[in-house]
């Protein structure tokens, strides 16, 4: 299986998975921080529950999109917290999903469709 096939096998990504990938783009985060980041980025539109988050995390770890970080944490941090980072494969999959979504939007625009105005 080549590079593209490995990535394409996971597309399209579930929205929760894509949001988690986006949340981990710039830094490693623990679960609750991911929830907060998604909520902030979507202006409160998406409020992910703990169950949904960890179900997605389990699947993404399994798929190799993200990995647990084993580095030392700040001393004041809750020891139960685990941090996750994006893997290179996860980055590639996020890019591929972005390209897929962009292509969809481009096709819609080409047909003269305009976004709904608030």
């Amino acid at each position: 299986m080549n590079d593209r096939e490995l990535v394409d096998e996971l597309l399209p990504l579930p929205p929760a998975t894509f949001h988690i990938l986006l949340a981990l783009l710039d830094e490693e985060r623990h679960g609750y921080a991911i929830i907060q980041d998604i909520e902030a980025r979507t202006q409160g539109e998406l409020r992910m529950s703990a169950g949904t988050l960890y179900r997605s995390i389990a699947r993404m770890v399994e798929q190799g999109l993200i990995a647990e970080v084993s580095k030392r944490r700040p001393a004041a941090d809750d020891p139960r917290r685990r941090y996750y980072r994006l893997t290179p494969f996860g980055t590639a999959v996020a890019r591929a999903e972005m390209r897929r979504l962009s292509e969809l939007v481009r096709l819609a625009r080409a047909r003269g469709l305009k976004p709904e105005t608030a």
């Binding site: 080549n2 590079d3 096939e5 490995l6 960890y54 770890v61 190799g64 139960r80 893997t87 980055t91």
Partner: protein
């Protein structure tokens, strides 16, 4: 939070072991954001809404993953797959066969009213193990000298060629004395049984329901029809109900057995199987005791022919069980072995594919890296490099 932690038991154990603490922590932090007069109720509702659908989802994810990995593993090893399919098919088939047999022998009630009062009588030799059929003379004397039974009949099995309007057919059948069918307690569906008077005339036949359907198309006017059995004409006088069988399903017809005087001459000629129904209020133990006394009397009366001859009394089901028990137990043992084998075989593909998730993730990453290296060796970087490259790229694009 205790409520939430209890709810977490709905998740698969492996998932719980991995994420239980984090889930509780994230949920607690989420709940701290809530305020208002009905916070407790909101927390309970939030916990239910969070855990129940996701627990179902995780169970489904795990099942899907296991099936996918098992399928992949089996696809890689077609020989092994074929073996697994054959062994499982064999296991299912053997299990079904043994269950059917055990159901018949041990579980299903015999198709006769008050079947627990039906006994099978055999001749046994006190000097030897086992038991034999009964001689006509002993059958006649047991019947005449006992009072424990409401009825006693005898039969022997044979095969015969049936010729009627259509093609000849080989039949498993029973020749029965006139007492036998009535004492079983099942009335004919149509027609009647043969009587002692009929027996003297001979040449009568009672059909089983399957034979009536297959050979005579279920014709209600079959009574009085003439058929030939091994060349001898017989008149159909009755049809038994579909649920009736005696002594087993393979028997398709019953004809009258007439014991002429010469049949009683040789007391050592044993070929009859004897069935008796206990008289109401009499126990099988009382019948045994009475037959023991009768046997002793017959031994004194016929010291040469009936030396050491005793009567063996078994319940009709007991008798079936006795004969089939060893066979069924042997089959059960064999089936158990096959099922254990099937269990091992069916688990094998899952265990072959059942590597820890992180090992599978590492494998995916390795495959991805290999694919990238093969496609464009110059682009290959260590995982950290790719993350850093993405950072640079995103900053660059924002800057542009």
């Amino acid at each position: 939070m205790r409520f939430y932690r209890t709810l977490l038991h709905l998740y698969p154990a492996a998932f719980r072991a991995e994420y239980c603490d984090e889930l509780s922590l994230a949920f607690a932090e989420r709940m701290r954001e809530l305020s208002g007069p009905i916070v407790s109720a909101m927390i309970i509702l939030a916990a239910l809404a969070d855990v129940i659908p996701n627990a179902i989802g995780v169970h489904w994810d795990f099942l899907r993953q296991d099936l996918v990995y098992a399928a992949r593993s089996l696809r890689r090893t077609p020989g092994f797959t074929l073996t697994v399919v054959l062994v499982v098919a064999l296991g299912v088939g053997a299990n079904t066969a043994v269950f059917s047999l055990a159901d018949f022998v041990f579980v299903r009630p015999l198709p006769y009213p008050h079947a627990d009062r039906l006994l099978k009588l055999w001749q046994g030799d006190t000097e030897e193990a086992g038991y034999n059929e009964v001689s006509p003379a002993n059958y006649r004397d047991w019947k005449a000298m006992t009072s424990s039974f409401a009825g006693m009949g005898a039969y022997w099995r044979r095969a015969a060629n049936l010729v009627s309007a259509s093609e000849p057919q080989r039949l498993e059948m029973v020749r029965a004395t006139p007492e036998l069918l009535p004492l079983l307690g099942v009335a004919p569906l149509i027609g009647r049984f043969f009587t002692t008077e009929d027996a003297a005339a001979g040449q009568l036949i009672v059909l089983s329901y399957p034979l009536w359907q297959s050979r005579f198309g279920g014709d209600p006017n079959v009574i009085g029809t003439s058929v030939r059995l091994d060349g001898a004409p017989h008149t159909v006088i009755g049809v038994m109900p579909a649920s009736f069988q005696f002594p087993d399903r393979s028997v398709e017809a019953w004809t009258s057995l007439v014991l002429h005087e010469d049949a009683f001459a040789d007391r050592t000629d044993t070929f009859l199987e004897v069935v008796a129904r206990l008289r109401p209020g009499t126990s099988s133990e009382q019948a045994r005791r009475e037959l023991k006394v009768v046997s002793a009397r017959l031994e004194r009366q016929y010291p040469k022919e009936n030396k050491h001859i005793r009567t063996l009394v078994l319940g009709l089901r007991e008798e079936l069980s006795e004969r089939a028990r060893l066979l069924v137990l042997a089959l059960c043992g064999a089936t158990l072995c096959i099922l254990l084998l099937c269990r091992g075989e069916s688990r094998e593909p899952l265990s072959r594919a059942g590597r820890p998730p992180r090992a599978r993730a590492r494998r995916t990453l390795r495959a991805w890296r290999r694919a990238r290296a093969a496609a464009a060796p110059a682009r290959h970087r260590e995982p950290g490099d790719l993350v850093r490259r993405r950072h640079r790229g995103s900053r660059g694009s924002r800057g542009g």
